[in-house]
């Protein structure tokens, strides 16, 4: 059976034109997707069965026993932490927030370690943005700043930015100018028209210099800023002003290097300033396919995008205090539930040390480093392959993930529902 118009559940591009061939209950071919998408959809080793750790070793068990154990751990905790959520459906995310409220837990998502600085920045200066469709049809200047999307979002350029022919961009690649700002010549930089190499940690200064030149204060800019000659900076500003529709995409190069939220606020402010001269938009390059979705769900249900603490019986948000890495660094939580994420692999080792000391529950389709530390493991069906549901593309457009094959495990939503039911039963609610 051939299934068309499939969404790829890997990165924030959420490509919606994938063709999948299914035979029996197995995906045998994936077309149109990038290498990472094909790899995810063709499948990897799975966690076979629910497991509970006894005497240091994980032993197989039933969903029922693992869910009872999970509910017992969470209800007996004073300060439970619930983290992950970027690689599952909005429906599962919603259930997770309900559980966090019931438990008085901290609920935080993978935004916390990637675009948290962007959230902080946009709360201060806003986000003049648009959809990827508008960019495809209108943009003639495309800027990637600290974002190697040729490797992180492999089809971004061919589907939405540099290459496609749109309504007002009928010449395709020929009519567009692509610039890359980065500390090293990435594979993205290799296919750009302009590569601007910045010294590590100097992004803020370069952005400030561009804003100064744009404001007409060329004289105050020194001969070189962050490794970029002044003449080059002036040329860049002229190109920005003379574009018909520009867009600045930014990635971890801004959010995870020195200056973090200040870098992003400066980049957004540059775009805001440019709108006095032409039409310009800015967009964070979101990593996981539904990390935008969890920030949407979390915001509409709690008022905040990430790092929400329900300990007071109402949502409380204070990044640095209620964000996961900080909670772990202080050794504050006394249990953790990890859903669709692998913090043991993706947090600094020093932060992971506390995860190893506390009762840890994992809900995930795949064995990973967090499994090595988990006390309860609940295998889940793969959202977007075995389960349908809602996901948000990086530009905030909600799309429907499809079910391609029958699941062999429970969905995240079902597992969370059952945990919530059990927690309420224990608490006599």
């Amino acid at each position: 059976m051939i299934i068309t118009d499939v969404l790829c559940p890997f990165c924030g591009d959420l490509c919606d034109d994938i063709i999948v061939e299914v035979e029996g209950n197995k995906i045998i071919e994936v077309k149109e997707a990038c290498e990472t998408g094909v790899s995810k959809m063709m499948g990897h080793e799975r966690i076979a069965s629910p497991m509970i750790r006894e005497d240091g070793k994980l032993r197989k068990t039933t969903y029922e026993e693992a869910i009872d154990k999970t509910a017992e751990i969470l209800t007996n905790s004073l300060r439970p932490l619930m983290y992950g959520w970027g690689s599952t459906t909005c429906e599962a995310d919603e259930k997770g927030i309900e559980l966090a409220e019931e438990l008085g837990a901290i609920i935080d998502n993978t935004t916390s370690v990637c675009h948290a600085p962007s959230i902080l920045a946009l709360q201060n200066v806003g986000l003049p943005s648009c959809t990827l469709g508008q960019i495809k049809n209108r943009a003639d200047l495309i800027i990637y700043w600290g974002s190697n999307q040729a490797e992180a979002h492999p089809r971004h350029m061919s589907k939405y930015t540099s290459f496609p022919k749109g309504f007002f961009t009928q010449e395709g690649r020929k009519g567009k100018h692509v610039m890359v700002f980065d500390v090293r010549k990435t594979t993205t930089a290799e296919v750009a028209d302009d590569f601007v190499q910045i010294l590590p940690g100097e992004d803020y200064r370069v952005l400030s210099a561009l804003r100064a030149i744009l404001a007409g204060a060329v004289d105050v800019v020194p001969s070189s800023v962050g490794g970029v000659p002044k003449e080059k900076l002036v040329e860049i500003v002229n190109r920005m002003k003379n574009s018909k529709f520009g867009v600045l995409f930014f990635g971890m190069g801004l959010t995870q290097s020195k200056g973090k939220p200040y870098n992003v606020a400066n980049a957004i402010s540059l775009v805001r300033d440019l709108n006095a001269h032409t039409k310009f938009a800015v967009m964070p390059m979101r990593g996981h396919y539904n990390v935008t979705g969890i920030t949407q769900v979390c915001t509409w249900l709690t008022g905040f995008a990430f790092a929400v603490d329900f300990a007071r019986g109402r949502p409380w948000y204070n990044p640095g205090e209620t964000s996961t890495v900080d909670v772990l660094n202080r050794g504050e939580c006394d249990s953790a539930l990890i859903v669709a994420s692998d913090p043991a692999a993706h947090f600094p080792r020093k932060s992971v040390e506390h995860l190893a000391k506390i009762p840890l529950i994992q809900i995930d389709p795949y064995p990973n480093l967090t499994t090595e530390l988990a006390d309860v493991v609940l295998p889940a069906a793969i959202a977007g392959i075995e389960v349908e549901g809602t996901a948000y593309r990086m530009d905030g457009v909600p799309l429907r993930l499809r079910k391609l094959i029958e699941p062999t495990h429970l969905s995240d939503e079902e597992i969370l529902s059952r945990i919530l039911g059990k927690v309420r039963e224990i608490r006599g609610d």
């Binding site: 370690v113 902080l120 590590p200 995870q256 640095g320 947090f347 480093l369 090595e372």
Partner: protein, 125 residues
């Protein structure tokens, strides 16, 4: 032993992305336990592609395989995001939730130790 002081940046690579849901495989170790250096830095260390290097920061140390990538300027080392890079990262977030995964100061030396096994990176359990 020759050593270099460089700034380390971590980030996505396409190979790392392909193996991200298959972390306990040897394929993941092959693509994520890697350090890329400019040939200038490689010759300062007097080493060739395939040698193992020890990367040390204030927060830890880790052994990975080295390879030349001249797209990195001299003075910048690249290690794909993942447990090997994270073994040496500063956990502090400066109050925003996100650690500084890029531009951290490290010392790199040649080593004859083998690549840090993935399970050892969380071996404090």
């Amino acid at each position: 032993m020759k050593k270099i002081d460089v700034k380390l940046t971590s980030g996505r690579s396409i190979e790392q992305g392909i193996h991200i849901d298959n972390k306990m495989s040897s394929g993941y170790c092959d693509v994520a336990a890697v350090c890329e250096l400019n040939e200038v830095d490689m010759s300062k260390l007097g080493i060739r592609d395939g040698a193992n290097v020890m990367i040390k920061s204030k927060f830890g140390q880790v052994v990975v395989r080295v390879r030349t990538n001249n797209r990195n300027p001299p003075g910048i080392a690249f290690v794909p995001m993942g447990p090997w890079a994270n073994a040496i990262m500063d956990p502090s977030t400066g109050g925003c939730g996100t650690p500084q995964f890029k531009g951290i100061e490290v010392e790199i030396t040649l080593t004859f130790d083998s690549i840090s096994p993935i399970k050892e990176l969380v071996g404090f359990r």
